[in-house]
């Protein structure tokens, strides 16, 4: 008879283990059997991600009877609860979509195909690891793993001379950010004498200055992964030559993991007894929103709009984290629910959008990437593009707008009305940028030849993701119920 604790632990780590195992197999095959067809790698990756989804689903099903139940292990560093299960499923879906629609990326990475799939699997595992963290060591290890995988992914495209430089840029920025975070974690460890974030509130009571420094540095470092000011540059810098689907995968994984770890650390760790992190995060969000709005308004190309608005959307989602506590009437504002809703929308939208951008870049010979007159040339692509733009662009009544209303109402409820108002006005800029682009799709004045999305798999993934962006409005009620039950497992101080 297997010990129930061990059985639970095996099920809990099964998604990550599966992905790591598949990554090892892909890497091994790449090293020892060089002439293997790309479909084998893709198949292995798909099996890994599907297995991870099923394993996480089984774990979630096991927790259904006691939503508050959670499994803590590995020296208290990792925590498996319904929040981790939900994030794991979302990460696995993002990874799965990326692998299915990877034809164009595979063409550009040349003989390094096995490495590409191994790295996507590993990056997803690192992201899953991060959303399950509970202590400082796990956070640092997870962050380093994610940075390493993304750096190597960015360096993969073989034919491009800039790939190495781009990866180095990312590594340097990520290095500075993680160093800042590590310094903050060290300070916090010094103050608390423990690697558990939950011990920080007690330390704050007797040593507020040092704890303040530690929290500020840790948050500043972590804000890199959600693209907040001053780190928003890494998203924009990878745009020019990076294969578009790769950008979508990297940004989506980074945002989900970043939001997950911020929620874990701030909400479950620091809690409402420390107000600094809320103030700091709200200031960073505010600057990110304003900076994004100022830069996006001049953009005419879709790529520019998407890159500049990615940070803004992430910042909008994080408003929910700031507004996690009790409202003015002592009822939970449920800001985290809003954050997760926006993160799911954003992840699906990013995958769809970058696949669409990929098809533009290929068909216009890289010179002018415009989708004008697309409706006449490729009606289905045009419709999917409009759906995705509308969903991501905070255009009412679609997904990001619904998420915006949720985060803003949470912010108003907990006393961050100023942030809510900033978010509303900044999101109107976002909306204008996307509407202008949608009109250019409908208008059709340019004569650039465009093609349909190249392969059936890519078409399928793009359509599914775009439909998800629309469908999350229709199923907002059930989706928020699922999110609510997963957020309920977070131990909120």
């Amino acid at each position: 008879m297997i010990n129930p604790h061990w059985l639970a632990l095996i099920i809990a780590v099964l998604p990550e283990s599966l992905l790591i195992a598949m990554a090892c197999i892909c890497a091994g095959l790449g090293v020892f059997r060089r002439n293997i067809d790309v479909r084998t790698y893709r198949g292995l990756s798909v099996i890994g991600f599907c297995g991870a989804i099923v394993a996480a689903g089984i774990g979630g099903y096991g927790m259904r009877l006691s939503p508050a139940h959670a499994l803590i292990d590995f020296g208290g560093e990792l925590l498996y609860d319904r929040f981790a299960v939900l994030c794991t499923i979302v990460i696995a879906i993002v990874g799965l979509m990326s692998c299915i629609a990877s034809e164009t990326v595979v063409q550009r990475v040349g003989s390094r195909v096995s490495a590409y799939y191994a790295l996507v699997l590993s990056a997803s595992a690192a992201a899953m690891f991060l959303v399950s963290e509970r202590g400082m060591v796990a956070t640092f290890v997870g962050v380093q793993l994610l940075v390493l995988c993304i750096t190597l992914l960015l360096a993969l495209p073989k034919a491009e001379r800039t790939a190495g430089a781009r990866a180095l840029h990312y590594a340097v920025r990520a290095g500075i950010a993680t160093a800042t975070m590590a310094y903050g974690l060290v300070v916090l460890y010094g103050v608390t004498g423990s690697t558990d974030f939950a011990s920080v509130p007690d330390a704050y009571a007797h040593s507020p200055q040092l704890t303040f420094v530690g929290i500020v540095l840790t948050l500043l470092g972590l804000s890199f992964f959600v693209g907040l000011v001053p780190w928003q540059g890494w998203i924009r810098s990878m745009s020019e030559d990076t294969p578009a689907p790769m950008v979508g995968t990297v940004v989506a994984l980074s945002f989900i993991a970043g939001n997950g770890v911020v929620i874990r650390m701030c909400v479950s760790g620091f809690g409402s007894s420390i107000s600094i992190w809320g103030t700091l995060l709200s200031v960073l969000i505010c600057f990110t929103l304003i900076e994004g709005a100022v830069t996006v308004i001049a953009q005419r190309r879709l790529q520019g709009i998407v890159l500049r608005t990615a940070s803004m959307q992430s910042a909008l989602a994080l408003i929910g984290v700031v507004a996690f506590g009790l409202g003015h009437d002592y009822v939970s504002a449920r800001g985290i629910n809003a954050t997760l809703y926006m993160v799911i929308t954003m992840a699906m939208g990013m995958i769809a959008m970058w696949l669409l951008i990929d098809s533009f870049a290929r068909s216009s010979d890289g010179a002018r990437q415009t989708s004008a007159h697309l409706l006449q040339q490729a009606p289905a692509t045009g419709v999917v593009l409009m759906m995705t733009c509308s969903g991501l662009g905070a255009i009412p009544p679609l997904a990001t707008f619904v998420g915006l209303i949720l985060v803003v109402s949470a912010a108003f409820s907990v006393g961050y009305a100023w942030l809510g108002i900033v978010a509303l006005f900044v999101s109107s800029v976002l909306c204008i940028a996307y509407i202008r682009y949608i009109v250019s799709i409908l208008d059709g004045s340019a004569d650039v030849q465009l093609r349909h999305i190249p392969t059936r798999a890519m078409r399928m993934v793009t359509t599914i993701c775009a439909c998800c962006v629309i469908a999350v409005v229709i199923v907002a009620g059930p989706l928020l119920s699922i999110i609510d039950s997963s957020v309920a497992s977070l131990s909120i101080h």
């Binding site: 449920r334 009544p397 209303i405 109402s409 928020l480």
Partner: protein
């Protein structure tokens, strides 16, 4: 609060509330979302050949026509049974989002205020669908957007949940901006950006006001009636009032922002102008009544002179600006803005009579503005010019169009037996007791507008016939098809106001009840 002799009807309405209406329960869903479903189907239809484009046009017409037929049925049932009783009519309510701190509901109702405006909207959309028939460029986009715009407009009118109201308002703002961006002549991008900037500013103010109000109400629901019934903290109450008043005034828009609307109207095809002037402006008036007056009757009472004065000032500004214009479409666009004066005055003095009059003014000005917009489009199409100086003596060649034009102008001027008359009389008798000077000024404004429009009519249609216009054709059958329903609406609301006024009174009675 005086009820001005409508208490009998109110009693009947109260009795109707008690009985309730349980048939048909998905009528409003069909009215609101029927057009969206047809838009979705049309989106995937091919539009390469003329036959395929014709099929799409027909689908668009069917969509709008279906909404109109359902609305007509709804209005007819309510009139016959006098059961527009408060807000129970055709009520549909179910939870949309419950796992959040604010429960959002799918809550649609159509009371006595909503139904006439719904009738105006759906009727105008059918006329616009016919008027768009002749355009052969981007038929699918036009058709789909038109149907989506109708969903947004009817949704705003029927929404009885603040969040739902916001979603529909946002939808119509965005779709209208896309319309402008695609079809508003050579400066369309600039016009779209301006129009969109104004629209989203208004929308952001509205969202901020509504979210603040819903959160501060502390009921964890965004249901319109529940939230309106709560007493907010003083600071939040004032902030919400000013945010929402500002939002609807910007969305209206009041002068000098009205100039944006005029520019768009002058550059857009006539059907889009008809929508902008006839319906979208009316929606802001509806928002002022339903949201601002419904939620903040005390603030409206406190700032009554300011709101009324703003209405008079707007009217004066519009009349002065109109005299400086030489473009027929710009004049028509300015003349539509004259309605802002009586509507704001009625808001400032929310008696039953004034509010019934305000609803009637929105309907009558909506009909006349849409008709005049479409007729000015026909004139521009025939003469190939928009400058008033180039017109003259057209009445000889275009007698039917002249008759249509005259009916619309006389309705604006308040001629008895036309829609404008009963609307203006009811509004002004309702406001006179409290704001005599402002009422007199509004009467003068309406009269001046009428005089100016009649002068314009003389310059366009009468006087010496010009040689170059000897072969100009009168209104065609297609044009008759879309102008006639609007004309019939003006006549019906003028000749039989007694049929519709009790219906409006039932809706207004609840609003008045909430303000007392």
């Amino acid at each position: 609060m005086p009820t001005n002799g409508v208490s009998g009807v109110q009693d009947q309405a109260a009795a109707a509330v008690a009985t309730g209406v349980d048939f048909p329960v998905i009528l409003l869903t069909c009215v609101v979302f029927g057009t969206a479903v047809i838009a979705l189907i049309a989106l995937f239809l091919p539009d390469r050949t003329e036959e395929q484009r014709g099929r799409i046009r027909l689908m668009g017409l069917w969509g709008s026509g279906l909404a109109l037929l359902l609305t007509l049925a709804a209005v007819n049932i309510q009139i016959n049974e006098i059961q527009g009783g408060a807000r129970a009519a055709y009520e549909e309510q179910r939870a949309l989002i419950s796992a959040f701190s604010i429960v959002m509901q799918y809550h649609l109702t159509a009371d006595g205020i909503t139904l006439p405006l719904l009738l105006l909207s759906t009727g105008t959309f059918v006329s616009v669908a016919f008027a768009s028939w002749k355009y052969s460029e981007r038929v699918k986009s036009r058709c789909v957007l038109l149907l989506l715009l109708e969903t947004g407009v009817t949704g705003v009118l029927c929404a009885s949940d603040y969040m739902l109201f916001l979603l529909f308002w946002g939808l119509q703002t965005v779709v209208l901006a896309v319309f402008v961006g695609m079809w508003a002549g050579g400066y369309r991008r600039r016009l779209m950006t301006r129009s969109l900037a104004r629209g989203v500013t208004a929308f952001s103010l509205m969202t901020a006001g509504i979210v603040l109000m819903v959160v501060q109400a502390g009921q964890h629901t965004s249901d319109l009636v529940t939230v309106n019934a709560q007493h907010l903290p003083t600071a939040a109450h004032a902030a919400c009032f000013w945010l929402l008043l500002g939002a609807f005034l910007v969305a209206l828009p009041i002068p000098p922002l009205w100039r944006d609307n005029v520019d768009v109207a002058a550059e857009s095809p006539a059907p889009i102008m008809a929508l902008g002037m006839g319906i979208i402006t009316m929606l802001s008036g509806y928002g002022l009544l339903r949201v601002v007056l419904g939620a903040f009757p005390d603030m409206v009472h406190t700032y009554s002179p300011i709101i009324g004065g703003l209405g008079v000032l707007c009217m004066g500004w519009v009349l002065l600006a109109m005299r400086a214009e030489h473009d027929i479409r710009r004049v028509v666009a300015y003349s539509s803005a004259v309605a802002i004066g009586p509507v704001l005055l009625a808001l400032a003095v929310p008696t039953s009579n004034a509010l019934v009059g305000a609803v009637l003014i929105m309907v009558s000005f909506g009909l006349t503005a849409a008709l005049l917009s479409l007729l000015s489009g026909i004139l521009e199409d025939r003469i190939k010019a928009k400058q008033i100086a180039k017109f003259g003596g057209l009445g000889y060649q275009m007698p039917r169009l002249t008759a249509f034009w005259l009916v619309a102008i006389l309705s604006v001027a308040g001629l008895p037996l036309l829609a404008g008359f009963s609307a203006e009389v009811m509004t002004l008798t309702g406001t006179y007791a409290q704001h005599r000077v402002m009422t007199a000024l509004v009467v003068a404004g309406i009269a001046l507008n009428g005089i100016y429009l009649l002068t314009l009519t003389r310059r366009i249609f009468f006087g010496e016939m010009r040689e170059e216009y000897a072969r100009v054709k009168d209104i065609t059958t297609l044009e008759l098809t879309y102008a006639l329903p609007l004309l019939i609406g003006i006549l019906l609301f003028g000749i039989l106001p007694g049929r519709v006024i009790p219906l409006i009174v039932t809706g207004v009675s609840q609003l008045v009840g909430s303000t007392t």
